[in-house]
């Protein structure tokens, strides 16, 4: 539907009527709009929780729809660095959405940042990475948000709001092609068939041609395709009731894992070369139902969701041309959530309060079979087993344990149900220029894990056994654990004529869980023990992982205290400045541990105590067609105590999190009064990050590097044409480092690329 002058006036009235019902706080008067982007200037606050932070004591960065498209943000990982001390590197797969905030993050398991899409909290970080289109707004709250959002928000919360059919009606479409033979396309229809009813349907397709070639297969290893769709229905009832339903589904089938073998002696990386297929396939379905009531005295919201995650990760886990071992991790998770929030109506009352209850239940079935192939059998199994035998001198030459298989399987199956319930309250009292807030959340979670890991090896000791003997080993049982946490928050805010000063004390909480990825290691150890017992021998100096008990598969919650002072200043029209100083003390820090030796797994352990302090600065200026935005963050995050048994890392910097983040965006738009062309806009985007240490010993690091992007947009009545480029200086940088079976690997960032995009708004 064209936003022509006459029809648009009606639409604006409708929009304003809608907003008056939806808006939780007084909003700026929307300016006359002639494009879709102008609705960004109107706040539609759907969640009663979200409005609590508006103009309040929190570090907040936000991106409007216009800014998202200006920066060409196509996924959650493209948001990295848009806020100070917010870093989300691309580790090479959609399954990995590691986010680092203020020095803390996690490579596996529980995240430090929660993601909320249209009021629905995503309960599994494997579904964080999805295709962005028609995203209306992204808000990033930094620092622990545990009081209102609970578990796994110790680094912050990202609130993502999609375009509402009540806010805009028409047809949107986008097609894009880039030099890396990547293509994106999306189309959406937003309709308001009745005054109180809005319906939208959006669908998107994304093809990644890949940046990196696997020289072993001579194919791009990070090719992929994804499809997604979203159906949204919103209804504004009488008497203050409104309901909204959002159903979305996404399917991804991609390669990935572009890992270069690192040679420490020459400090260089080899070309990517691995022989076994690797990739990731995922189906996500999210259904969210929101009911709201706006009364004269109280307001109420209920958010109910069902989330399905069904995915399969396939890995050549040694990432070499050798046939060592492969992993498949298949999981199906069903999640139900319910959250009810009650708060008082927006009045002149100086006491604002909010009460909430949240409950969730997750059922996770996971299967993680590890297949040991011939080279892996030789190096990982037989090498260890025969080490003491062939060198003993007590057996004739040539005596050795043999395995009669080119590959064998270690199967690991898990059933992990998790239940949680939380009650929370937050109150704010206005005393003159002061706004004092306090909140508390009681959070209880119970989780259990049934596990069964087993495998059969056909083996013999060739000096004494003429026949191979199948040897079955099983490790099964059940683990349970419960967590109870109190998550308080204290905040004081002082309002001046040009902005606010604030101070907060908050507590962060990252849930505990289970190390499912260490089970193949445990079973390897038990298989070895079983074989030695069957042979009646015991090696005097056997080396094996010490993580061989079920209790080692558990890890506890990580907790932190965050102390913060900051300011939000609006000294003059068009200029905003935000600054924050923070100090975080982290207890029972969850650290990814790689067992020593030729082990294949990794595990989370509450092994460290850490602290972080730093500064964050943001400034944004708009003047006519010019907009400039800068964000800088500095973090000094170090271990206070961490000794993994082989070395003491106390005082060292936390690995994987950058010390500096920097983002500068400058854009200028010329309004052109011609029949066809309405506007020409240029934008330059410079992002820098580093240094990043890759290990606890701080012996490997990525120095500070920067990425330059630019784009030119020709804006016409219905069509925008954008030419864009990223990493224009072709910076060579690393995004990820890890060890596997004693070898070291790096993942590199995307090289320079450019593309053309066509946006259609009808």
């Amino acid at each position: 539907m064209p936003l022509c002058a006459t029809s648009y006036l009606c639409d604006v009235k409708t929009l304003l009527a809608t907003l008056s019902l939806l808006a939780a706080e007084p909003t700026p008067t929307p300016e006359p709009a002639d494009t879709l982007y102008h609705i960004d200037r109107v706040e539609i606050t759907a969640s009663l929780k979200n409005e609590q932070h508006l103009n309040s004591a929190v570090s907040l960065s936000s991106l409007t729809m216009h800014q998202l498209e200006q920066r060409g943000i196509g996924s959650i990982k493209d948001i990295s660095l848009i806020a100070p001390n917010f870093y989300q590197p691309d580790y090479g797969s959609s399954i990995t959405s590691s986010i680092y905030v203020r020095g803390f993050g996690s490579r596996i398991d529980q995240p430090v940042v929660g993601v909320v899409i249209d009021d629905v909290p995503m309960m599994n970080k494997n579904s964080y990475d999805f295709d962005f289109y028609d995203i209306r707004r992204v808000e990033l709250l930094r620092g622990p948000q545990g009081t209102l959002y609970g578990r796994n928000t110790s680094g912050g919360v990202m609130n993502i709001t999609t375009l509402s059919p009540l806010a805009w009606q028409g047809v949107r479409a986008m097609v894009e092609y880039s030099t890396m033979t990547s293509a994106r396309a999306s189309a959406a229809y937003y309709a308001r068939p009745k005054e109180h009813l809005g319906i939208s349907f959006a669908a998107g397709y994304n093809h990644e041609g890949g940046y990196f070639r696997n020289t072993y297969t001579d194919k791009m290893c990070d090719r992929g395709n994804s499809l997604s769709a979203r159906l949204r229905v919103q209804w504004l009832g009488e008497n203050g009731w409104s309901i909204a339903n959002s159903l979305s589904a996404g399917y991804t089938n991609e390669g990935g894992y572009a890992y270069h073998h690192y040679i420490p002696q020459s400090d260089s990386c080899e070309p990517i070369a691995y022989n076994d297929p690797s990739g990731y396939e995922r189906l996500v379905i999210n259904e969210g139902f929101v009911a709201k009531y706006e009364g004269e005295k109280v307001r109420l919201s209920s958010v109910t969701s069902y989330q399905l995650l069904d995915d399969k990760m396939t890995l050549d886990q040694d990432f070499t041309p050798r046939s060592m071992f492969t992993l498949q991790q298949m999981q199906t998770e069903h999640t139900l959530t319910e959250e009810i929030v009650i708060r008082n109506a927006l009045t002149e009352n100086r006491w604002q309060w909010l009460c909430g209850a949240f409950a969730f239940a997750k059922w996770l079935d996971m299967s993680s079979p590890v297949t040991f192939k011939r080279d892996g059998i030789e190096q990982l199994i037989l090498h260890n087993a025969n080490k003491g035998i062939t060198s003993s001198g007590i057996f004739p030459e040539g005596s050795a344990i043999e395995i009669d298989a080119n590959e064998f399987l270690i199967a690991s199956d898990f059933r992990i149900p998790t239940y949680g319930i939380a009650l929370y309250h937050q109150s704010s009292v206005e005393l003159g220029r002061w706004l004092l807030s306090a909140g508390l959340r009681l959070d209880f979670e119970h989780t259990s894990m049934r596990y069964n890991s087993n495998g059969t090896i056909p083996y013999r000791f060739n000096y004494t056994m003429s026949e191979f003997k199948p040897l079955y080993t099983e490790f099964s049982g059940r683990e349970r654990q419960s967590f109870f946490e109190l998550l308080p928050k204290l905040a004081a805010e002082y309002r001046t004529g040009i902005g606010t000063l604030y101070a907060t004390i908050t507590r962060g909480y990252k849930a505990g869980g289970y190390n499912t990825q260490i089970f193949s290691d445990i079973l390897q150890v038990k298989m070895m023990d079983n074989m030695m017992n069957d042979l009646g021998i015991k090696l005097n100096n056997s080396t094996s992982t010490s993580y061989d008990t079920a209790s080692a598969t558990r890890y506890k919650p990580e907790k932190s205290w965050n102390f913060e002072v900051g300011t939000h200043l609006r000294p003059t029209t068009g200029l905003s400045i935000d600054a924050t100083l923070y100090w975080i003390e982290c207890f029972d820090q969850q650290v990814t541990v790689l067992p020593e030796g030729n082990n294949t797994g990794r595990m989370m352990s509450n092994a460290a105590r850490a602290r972080s302090y730093g500064v964050e600065l943001s400034a944004e200026y708009h003047y006519k067609g010019l907009s400039v935005k800068g964000d800088y963050g500095y973090t000094d995050a170090r271990f206070r105590r961490y000794d993994d048994g082989t070395a003491d890392y106390s005082g060292n910097r936390l690995p994987y999190a950058p010390a500096h983040t920097l983002s500068l965006v400058a854009a200028y738009a010329w309004a052109i009064d011609s029949g066809l062309l309405h506007e020409v806009a240029i934008a330059a985007d410079w992002r820098g990050v580093g240094e990043i240490y890759w290990n606890e010993a701080n012996t490997l690091r990525q120095g500070f590097y920067s990425l330059l992007g630019a784009q030119l947009t020709l804006r016409m009545r219905y069509v925008d044409v954008t030419l864009w480029g990223r990493n224009l200086t072709n910076t060579d940088y690393n995004t990820f480092y890890f060890k596997s079976v004693g070898e070291e690997f790096f993942a590199k960032g995307a090289p320079w690329h450019c593309g053309i995009r066509l946006n259609i708004n009808l």
Partner: protein, 156 residues
């Protein structure tokens, strides 16, 4: 004590025989059961002559025996180590050890017995010149394991 038991049992046997003296179907008298245990485990010290003038000693070595039939038994050494340089301990089973029983004492002999270890025969360490005794308190063994003379003395 055992002598008293023997005399009592002999007395009972005589009494039974006397009471059934006039019966036609006289039960066949069963031979006296050996009074020695038919199996047992000992813990002790093994000395292995390294044939270079040195000896290797393993303390707390558990050795089991089990009578198989009227003339042979099996001896099993659990987690035995025969030299300091040997990087592993192993279970070794010596089957077909001949014995004679005198009272509660077994006297053992054996020669050219291929021991069983690691799920199969171990000809490199064929047992020769085996001798020893087992009673209800102790076990003493002496044999050559391959070329290495071995002595063991254990108690219950």
């Amino acid at each position: 004590m055992r002598l008293i038991k023997f005399m009592l049992s002999a007395l009972c046997a005589v009494t039974l025989f006397a009471s059934c003296e006039e019966q036609q179907e006289t039960p066949t008298p069963t031979p006296d059961e050996p009074t020695a245990d038919s199996s047992g485990t000992f813990s002790g010290t093994m000395n292995v002559d390294q044939t270079d003038g040195t000896f290797f000693t393993q303390e707390d070595l558990a050795v089991e025996f089990e009578v198989v039939d009227a003339t042979t038994m099996t001896i099993k050494m659990n987690q035995a180590q025969f030299a300091a340089a040997m990087p592993l301990k192993l279970d070794m089973t010596i089957e077909g050890v001949s014995y004679t029983l005198s009272g509660d004492k077994y006297t053992l002999t054996g020669d050219n017995i291929v021991p069983i270890a690691m799920n199969g025969p171990f000809p490199q360490y064929t047992i020769t010149a085996l001798s020893g005794t087992i009673d209800d308190k102790s076990m003493t063994l002496a044999f050559n394991c391959g070329k290495y003379p071995v002595e063991y003395h254990g108690t219950k």
